[in-house]
């Protein structure tokens, strides 16, 4: 078992640095929102976390397709690592969204299409991890979870569309205000920081999965 690549160490360093810079800008340097006040700063965590979670889900889909085409265990470990870290980011998205919603909308939860779809996405990701947790054979585990990763990804747009219709037939959706370039830049910076954190964690998780797979093989032959 080789040591982890020095590249991963650098990635971790860069992620940490950029996180500190991005958080500092979001917390102290950007002016507070005129309407929402300081609460709006939560968006510098919420929005990048949401984007990162969607990227993670897309990568799970890519890894799942790659696995089914090539049957390469590395693709499976890649998809699994992305899913596991993706769950953290999507849970963070929901948590910060609710923290923001309480002072802004007056409620923790509302049946907003994006909110509802994000919660369902979390359920799909958890289902993906659960099917992995409950299967012992590595090949079957990889194949079954790849199928869930693909179907889960395909169902996202149609779930979102159905929830949008469900809401709009009852009340008009809130139109998002256009955001200033300052806010957009801070989002982008934090998005980059979150992506680096995600890549670092996923790389670590994939390495752990590789070690676990090797252990499984050794135990299978030794016993």
């Amino acid at each position: 078992m080789g040591r982890s690549s020095p590249l991963v160490g650098w990635l971790g360093g860069a992620a940490l640095t950029l996180m500190l810079i991005g958080s500092a800008i979001g917390l102290f340097f950007v002016a507070a929102d005129a309407e929402q006040g300081e609460v709006q700063r939560l968006m510098y965590v919420h929005v990048p976390a949401a984007w990162t979670a969607f990227v993670a889900f897309f990568l799970v889909f890519i890894g799942s397709v790659l696995y089914l085409v090539q049957r390469d265990p590395r693709a499976d470990r890649f998809a699994a690592a992305c899913a596991e870290v993706g769950v953290v980011f999507i849970a963070l998205t929901l948590a910060t969204g609710m923290l923001w919603g309480k002072p802004t909308w007056g409620v923790w939860w509302t049946w907003d299409p994006r909110l509802t779809t994000t919660a369902l996405l979390l359920a799909v990701f958890v289902g993906y991890l659960a099917i992995r947790g409950f299967s012992d054979d590595p090949d079957r585990r990889a194949r079954w979870s790849a199928v869930v990763g693909i179907l889960g990804f395909i169902q996202v747009p149609i779930v979102y569309l159905s929830v949008v219709w469900w809401r709009t037939l009852h009340q008009p959706p809130s139109s998002p205000r256009s955001v200033s370039s300052e806010i957009l830049w801070t989002w982008m910076l934090n998005f980059l920081a979150f992506l680096l954190v995600f890549s670092y964690l996923a790389a670590r998780r994939a390495r752990l999965a590789r070690i676990e797979a090797e252990l499984e093989t050794r135990q299978a032959y030794d016993v």
Partner: protein, 225 residues
Amino acid sequence: MALGSRVAAIVWKDLLIEVRTKASFHSMLFFAALVLFVFSFAIGPDTPLLKRIAAGLLWVAIIFTGILSLSRTYQAEEAGGGLEGLRMAPGDPRGIYLGKLAGNILLLLAMETILFPASAVLFQLEIARNALPLAGIAILGTIGFSVVGTFYAALTLNLRAREILLPLLLIPALVPPLLGAVNSTQLVLDGNPLGEAAVWVRLMVAYDVTFFVVCTWIFPVAVEE
């Protein structure tokens, strides 16, 4: 054997077993009726309120019952390694999926033909006048449920804790057909004044077609050894 006759053979075998034992059908029907009762007990004997949310109660009862019956989809094959035999039989393994799918759809629809009138009696719904549109909605909703359900039932077949994993995977995927079926049913029951039910019918058609194609295409991967 050609795909068509493979499918027909599986449907015929399963329906014959069902007709002779009536094991699933009766218990499914009474379970669904009990779900409607439990909802009414939980909500209270407020008929106007129950009438307003009847479509939702009805479809939740159908989905709960459907999930229970899905876990029995491959039960007949499990005992004697029959699924191995089916899979090893020369020809396209998709025939297994299509046959089981057709069987599940027929069984659920048979149950719904009794459950819809029963709910009409319980909640004082006007279903006789809207029988044709309601039948179309029931068929589309049942196809959407069964397409994904039959697939996930095969996928979770050999898993530990499949009783909990099947609904865990299935329910998030069932949001579009559930919303489509509930909303169009309620709109039709209310007389569909604005013709809004068409939107939901289109959603169900799009969902049914998309997932029928994807699930049929990917099925061999789910059952290969």
